[in-house]
């Protein structure tokens, strides 16, 4: 039984089946990208063991749409809804099985010989590539550092995640004490407490995506203010449907209630649209903010100058360039660096890429702004190694084939010289 299972696991039949399913998976994932958005597609097709029926349905609908068969796309909320039934193998399952298949084949029947050295190298390279990508999925982190000319940053901000930050100045220094809670903890009814905080916050309302905007004088007279304290009375909350589009972000919001020993001290509304707001009572001296999750680094970058060139007479960008000053008090490094397209800065286990660029529009000669993509990926080198291995392996293997083939032809050439033209009677 075990023997039979090992036989199946190491068979070329399984390889072909897995490759075929892989092709289908990639194809379906490509189709689903427009309706579901890249992030969800990665989660539900490629970074999962199974594809569920909702994701598959999104792909099929898009395919039908391309063929001019009208099927309405699902509403964005439907993608998040349950229950999800596994209906197709996902990326992790197929990738895992391919690695297992490869290892089993090499253990069971692969005898190393020079004639097969190329295949061996290729397969080692492929395993490295797949494992490297698995590590990347697990370990890598993408964030963004955006600043204006003259600003200094020692942190980057997450694209997706938010945190509820409680901030207090540390007396006698220019530092702040920050206690941050992941945005996922903001569930209605949850209590936000921490040993460093002399108070407790209760979550009253929570929104996955909402506009928090100023109360308009005539229009919003019937609307409840967002909260009682801080910016709350001047704002209202407009819940928005979840967005899955690549270039849009969900902006969460929440209403939290501050309670002290004598009961409620009022509510505050928090949202990335609002700046830090002062708390009161036992929380006096503390500020609250819901902001993109920050990752602090032991060094800082200062944006000195932005350069944005278009091709003459067009709006086609020719160059984005940020000149930054790197300052690391620990290692006493202080130097200026240019970051531009295809020329990132690699420092401290992070890589900084030129991402977006703009200019403050408010006044004449406004300051330039720049956004850097900040990536931490400990396994970024694996594709480089695996490419060399696979390329070398395939070259070796095909050259061995070619030499053998030409040799055979050479031996036959004498006979073929006269009757070589096929079809000539």
């Amino acid at each position: 039984m075990l023997r039979r299972a090992l036989e199946v696991l190491s068979s070329l039949r399984l390889t072909v089946l897995l490759l075929g399913l892989g092709i289908l998976l990639v194809f379906l994932g490509t189709l689903a990208q427009e309706p579901m958005g890249l992030y969800l597609v990665q989660e539900r097709f490629f970074k999962s063991f199974f594809v569920d029926q909702i994701a598959l349905s999104a792909a099929i609908r898009k395919g039908a749409h391309l063929l001019a068969i009208h099927m309405a796309p699902l509403p964005p909320e439907a993608y998040m809804a349950g229950p999800r039934i596994p209906v197709f193998p996902g990326g992790y399952l197929l990738g895992g099985l391919l690695v297992a298949n490869l290892l089993a084949a090499h253990i069971r029947r692969f005898k190393f010989s020079w004639a097969k050295s190329g295949i061996f190298l290729t397969h080692v390279g492929l395993i490295l590539l797949l494992l490297g990508q698995l590590f990347t999925d697990v370990l890598s982190r993408e964030s963004q550092m955006s600043f204006r000319e003259g600003d200094t940053r020692n942190y980057s901000e997450d694209f997706q995640k938010h945190e509820l930050a409680l901030i207090r100045d540390v007396e006698g220094t220019d530092r702040e004490l920050v206690v941050a809670f992941p945005g996922t903890q903001l569930k209605p009814g949850a209590e936000i407490r921490h040993e460093r905080l002399p108070f407790v916050l209760k979550v009253r309302q929570q929104f996955e995506n909402a506009d928090v905007r100023r109360r308009a004088p005539m229009v919003d007279t019937n609307r409840e203010p967002a909260a009682t304290q801080g910016a709350g009375p001047r704002f209202v909350i407009d819940p928005q449907p979840l967005t899955l589009e690549m270039d849009k972000k969900n902006q969460p919001a929440a209403v939290v209630e501050l309670t002290g020993t004598s009961g409620s001290l009022g509510t505050w509304v928090v949202s990335p649209f609002l700046r830090e707001q002062d708390l009161e009572g036992p929380a006096a001296g503390w500020r609250v903010e819901l902001r993109p999750t920050r990752y602090y680094e032991p060094f800082s970058l200062k944006l000195l100058r932005t350069t944005h060139e278009d091709y003459r007479g067009t709006k086609v960008p020719k160059n984005f360039q940020s000149r930054v000053e790197l300052d690391n008090p620990v290692t006493r490094e202080k130097r200026e660096i240019d970051i531009y397209m295809n020329n990132p800065l690699r420092y401290g286990g992070l890589t900084f890429y030129q991402f977006q660029m703009g200019r403050e529009q408010l006044e004449a000669g406004g300051r330039g702004t720049s956004a850097l993509q900040v990536v931490r990926n400990p396994s970024w080198l694996t594709p480089y190694f695996s490419t060399v291995l696979v390329f070398g392996g395939l070259m070796v293997q095909f050259l061995i084939h070619l030499v053998g083939f030409l040799g055979k032809r050479g031996r036959r050439a004498g006979a073929a010289a006269t009757a070589g033209v096929s079809g000539a009677v």
């Binding site: 092709i23 160059n319 084939h401 079809g423």
Partner: protein, 647 residues
């Protein structure tokens, strides 16, 4: 057939290809001499000839102009020169191609051809359209507000026409303001009013009494020139200081305004663009002190001479203008001239004709079994290949780029790679198979390229993120060669199925050799598509820190790699034999086309080029064709080695 046939045909083909390099001779107005002049458009320096050809392609779908009821053909350059110098005449020419019946109805255009009125029911003049511009603008804004994928064919036609009209209006303002009848005389008056006008302006800015008439007189010109500049026509006026600002070519409008009220100052005053106050003071102080750029009076002379039909003055002024650029701008002059020669030579068109001829001869060879036919086809493909290669090298030289920079050049390059492989196969087998595949595949890919060129300038500038010759030369070239190899294998397999119906031609030996070829090429394709795809990932890692982002184009490339790997493993595992390999390899055509084109039609992803309706239909037709051939491959037939014992 005689032994001399190949040589005669080869000599004719070579002579025909070279004949395109013959310089054009001007009689009358020196149009092609004008076409050699440099101009900056779409962000790159090019000859007027390229602006003319690419614009007419976008507006009319052709590089020449032939009108119903009028004799002869107008070249693109003749048309553009007329448009720039005497727009009122050009506006009567029927250059706008409109196909959608609802769009014709919107403008109340004649649907039927009418020779007397010069109507052909497809092409219309600006005069015919200009009464309904408001309607076009309304429809355009409706269409523009929708996502590209959701637009109806009518809305797409509206936007296309809107773009064509915009381009046309931009070009009209290149050399002179569109409504200046005698630009030469206008310039004389402009120079006269500048001193008093700018003086009055300074007085007014300082809050002192000023000469209203003098100011109004100068501002009337300024207004006209600002509007002209605002149309964003090509940049024709050379920079003042070639040694330090070589790329700073100017539009005629802004060059004209330098001498009175600079563009930045005017825009500041009408609140369009803010500049700092001290900069305003400086510009006010400077107004009227900069002498008129030497090119401008020459433009005046050229356009006025053209309008009057004064050939001698036009041609001598043209020589004089060229003289002002000589020395300081030799590099630009020679680049523009080279590109004009390249445009006229049309190497890819020449190659396309030779390839299809070679393909027909190769097919003829299988029926007539005549070796001279095969040799003729060989020499035709060789000639075409040389022309094709020369064209690629010329493009690389002109652009300063590796061969593949956009979808258009990828089509040209796929054809080139396919011929290279086909020629190698032919050297080995000498049975016209390699020639037939090279011929038909290159012909098809050059047809695709020809259609892609309709969207405008094929040497467009590269966006910042793509602006790296190293990765364009490695990742893009290798991936494209992988596409080419997969197509060659696919087409060989199509031949295997189709030729297989002829028992006489498809001997078991022939079948086996085809299978070996397909197998070898799929190995080659696997190597190239894998390496190219991973290099693309490494480029992405270098550019934005993501080796693999599941972008549709990346996914497409991955599918090709997986498909080729599947074929190889299926063969090694004995799951498919001769016929199976061929049918899988034909499906490779579908997989490759999906990656090359289909992924651009999804409307998402970093590599997307926009939705292409007609191209999608063509893609579907190609998919169906391949499926039909796969179906045919399943038909049993006598004499097939792997179905029934021979005889």
């Amino acid at each position: 057939m005689k032994r001399w046939l190949p040589w005669v045909v080869a000599v004719v083909a070579i002579g025909w290809s070279l004949s395109h390099l013959r310089p054009a001779r001007d009689t009358g107005i020196a149009v092609s001499e004008f076409g050699r002049l440099p101009v900056v458009f779409n962000g790159r320096l090019q000859p007027f000839d390229s602006v003319a050809r690419n614009s007419l392609l976008q507006i009319r779908g052709k590089q020449t102009l032939r009108e119903e009821g009028k004799p002869g053909t107008t070249t693109a350059m003749e048309w553009l020169l007329e448009l720039m110098a005497t727009p009122e005449k050009a506006n009567a020419r029927k250059v706008f191609r409109i196909d959608h019946p609802d769009l014709k109805a919107l403008f109340g255009l004649p649907l039927e051809a009418n020779e007397a009125a010069g109507d052909d029911g497809k092409h219309y003049s600006l005069d015919q359209l200009s009464l309904k511009f408001e309607g076009l603008r309304e429809q355009s804004s409706v269409a523009r507000s929708k996502e590209a994928v959701l637009r109806t064919p009518f809305e797409q036609a509206v936007l296309k026409l809107g773009d064509a009209v915009t381009l046309y209006l931009r070009l009209q303002n290149t050399l002179k303001p569109v409504n200046s009848q005698d630009f030469e005389a206008d310039l004389v008056r402009y120079r006269e009013v500048i001193p008093a006008g700018t003086e009055a302006f300074r007085e007014r800015m300082a809050g002192r009494p000023f000469d209203t008439n003098a100011l109004t007189g100068a501002l009337n010109f300024a207004q006209q020139y600002l509007a002209m500049h605002g149309m964003e026509p090509p940049l024709v006026v050379s920079p003042h200081h070639p040694e330090r600002e070589r790329d700073n070519w100017m539009r005629t409008g802004e060059a004209l305004l330098e001498s009175s009220f600079p563009v930045a100052l005017l825009r500041h005053l009408i609140n369009e663009e803010r500049i700092a106050e001290d900069e305003v003071d400086r510009l006010v102080e400077q107004a009227g002190t900069v002498p008129l750029h030497p090119s401008l009076p020459l433009f005046g002379k050229l356009t006025t001479a053209y309008a009057k039909g004064d050939v001698a003055t036009f041609n001598s002024t043209l020589t004089a203008y060229r003289g002002t650029l000589t020395g300081a701008y030799d590099r630009e002059l020679s680049k523009a001239s080279q590109e004009q020669v390249f445009n006229r030579a049309q190497p890819f068109y020449t190659a396309m004709v030779l390839y299809i001829a070679a393909f027909l001869l190769a097919c003829g060879f299988w029926f007539a079994s005549s070796e001279p036919l095969r040799r003729t086809a060989w020499w035709l493909v060789m000639t075409a290949f040389v022309v094709h290669t020369a064209g690629l090298i010329a493009r690389m030289w002109l652009e300063g780029r590796p061969p593949v920079t956009n979808l258009y050049s990828s089509a040209v390059f796929i054809g080139w790679g396919a011929v290279g492989l086909g020629l190698i196969l032919e050297r080995i087998w000498r049975n016209a198979i390699g020639l037939a595949v090279a011929g038909i595949l290159s012909f098809a890919s050059l047809i695709v390229a020809h259609h892609l060129a309709q969207s405008g300038d094929t040497m467009e500038m590269m966006r910042a993120v793509l602006d790296t010759n190293f990765w364009l030369a490695t990742h893009v070239v290798i991936v494209t060669l992988g596409y080419a190899a997969t197509y060659v294998a696919g087409f060989l397999s199509i031949l295997y199925v189709l030729v297989g119906f002829s028992r006489r031609t498809m001997t078991p030996e022939f079948g086996r050799s085809l299978t070996r070829a397909v197998y070898g090429i799929i190995c080659f394709a696997t190597l190239f598509s894998f390496t190219g795809t991973v290099l693309g990932g490494i480029w992405a890692d270098q550019s934005w820190g993501r080796f693999w982002g599941w972008d549709p184009k990346e996914n497409g490339a991955l599918i090709i790699v997986l498909w080729n790997a599947l074929i190889l493993h299926a063969r090694w595992g004995g799951l498919v034999k001769e016929r199976g390999i061929h049918l899988l390899s034909i499906a490779g055509n579908i997989v490759t086309s999906w990656s090359w084109f289909g992924t651009n039609m999804l409307g998402v992803g970093l590599h997307a080029y926009g939705f292409m309706d007609a191209a999608f239909k063509a893609l579907m037709a190609f998919v169906v064709f391949n499926l039909v051939v796969i179906g045919l491959g399943y038909l049993p037939r006598p004499g097939r080695t792997n179905l029934a014992p021979a005889r």
